[in-house]
Symmetry: C2
Subunit: 281 residues, 2 copies
């Protein structure tokens, strides 16, 4: 996805939000905003938003001196989600269409996003996600591809959300490679976060190598690129991965909740919409 | 009022909104955002927000080549408000406390603000303003000072809103100097807008000389400064004037609707609050 004009004020807002999490020092946050302000001229509309996210969150760490400002928030998110795990498993077990219920739960988990959101209530999100109609639902295609797949490449998004992904992985009953970011960026899941969520018990965890809040292929490791290029069935979670990959010609299913009006416009959808979208057309 | 960290993303948002009104040329708007981004580092937290507004809206005109992007919007606002004038006059005439009703109407008019707001419904605003309790209401003081005043210095804010100010001016029954901006900035009222609203029939119109969206004294003309410094009773409409004047030690009554969370925090109030606040303490 390209960068829209509306993304520029949002970049400043994201810097401010992350700056406040990283430090209480108003002078440092002002310097951060100054420097992000100066970066704007070097961001072409043709770049993807997570390419800018990468630079912005790097600046947050640089100026605040805190390499992983979201560390505690991520750990707490995962703990909270793990506490929900048994009841979510029960929800899947008793449902008529276990796969679809697990997909709904995985999308509900996508709300745990400190880049796009300020506030969210995970319990309410799950309740809503179980009832709400999908805005785009390529479920038949998803099921068909899943049946034929030998292996699934699953691109994770946020920490905490991994617990919900784990439930979908357990429900799909196929070998999964679960992909995490190479370094901490916002509250995106890294190797440690995936392990805390128990992903290591149900999948092979692979780092994409990227330091962007989205799987921008040219920022990923050679190892990941090889896996990505040969994958026959890819699940991509969240907005950041959608922004990075929406123009790739690969067998990708996007699972996400639309959390900003720019992405809503780009997809022809509305904020709050639940999406299971195939680009294998 | 100082500039808060939250103001910086808002500056970008304002530039984008004004840029879109001034031009359809995406490249020009991108250049505008780039240049406003670069300006941020030169904005100290100690400056008032309208001092930055002044520079931002100047950039909008410079880059778009449109000196007064809000010209048509202002004319339409005034026309729409003039159509409401008879029924508003009737509302005042039949009310038990005519002065208070006219103050409520003047505050309702303060919602016509293209700097702070995207959308508003003036009919609904009037209805709400007539019912809603004031968050701060120094009405007794206001009435006392009004009784003693020989002349009122009335600092206008937005075009359209002038029609509502005219009703308050007519109700106060005292000589009024009505102050407008020196040049067009956002949808703030200039001499022409005040005349279109019929202010010239009920008051002497005076330009403050400023090109900022708020009466920042050191950007005003010598003539205005003299009038301001000797005024015994000053009514200041709107956020921009509050931001510019909140630290002045003059007999000012602020009439405004709180339209952003930064000002709400600064005043210890909530967004949407109606304020009649004296700083003669």
């Amino acid at each position: 996805m390209k960068t829209y004009l509306e993304c520029f004020p949002c970049f400043l807002n994201q810097a401010l939000r992350a700056g406040r999490i990283a430090t209480d020092d108003e002078k440092k946050i002002k310097r951060l905003l100054d420097e992000v302000g100066m970066m704007l001229k070097d961001i072409p509309l043709e770049s993807t938003p997570p390419a800018s996210g990468k630079m912005i969150y790097k600046k947050v760490s640089e100026i605040s001196g805190v390499p992983d400002p979201y560390k505690e928030i991520k750990e707490e998110s995962t703990e909270k989600c793990l506490a929900l795990y048994p009841s979510l498993k029960h929800m899947v077990a008793k449902s008529d269409d276990k796969l679809l219920t697990a997909i709904r739960i995985a999308i509900a988990g996508n709300v745990i996003d400190f880049g796009a959101n300020k506030n969210f209530d995970i319990d309410k999100e799950i309740e809503a996600a179980l009832k709400r109609d999908f805005a785009v639902c390529d479920y038949t295609e998803f099921r068909e591809h899943l049946n034929e797949a030998d292996e699934i490449l699953y691109l994770g998004d946020n920490a905490g959300e991994c617990v919900f992904d784990r439930i979908l992985i357990e429900t799909m009953k196929k070998p999964v490679i679960y992909v995490v970011r190479g370094v901490p960026v916002i509250n995106d899941a890294t190797y440690e976060d995936a392990v805390q969520a128990g992903i290591n018990r149900v999948a092979t965890i692979l780092s994409s190598g990227t330091d962007a809040p989205g799987t921008i292929i040219n920022t990923c490791s050679a190892e990941f690129k090889k896996v990505f290029e040969s994958a026959g069935f890819i699940i991509s979670k969240g907005q950041g991965n959608y922004e990075a990959l929406s123009n790739e010609k690969r067998p990708i299913f996007f699972l996400l909740k639309v959390k900003c009006h720019v992405i809503a416009n780009d997809m022809g959808l509305t904020e709050g919409d639940m999406v299971l979208k195939s680009i294998i057309k």
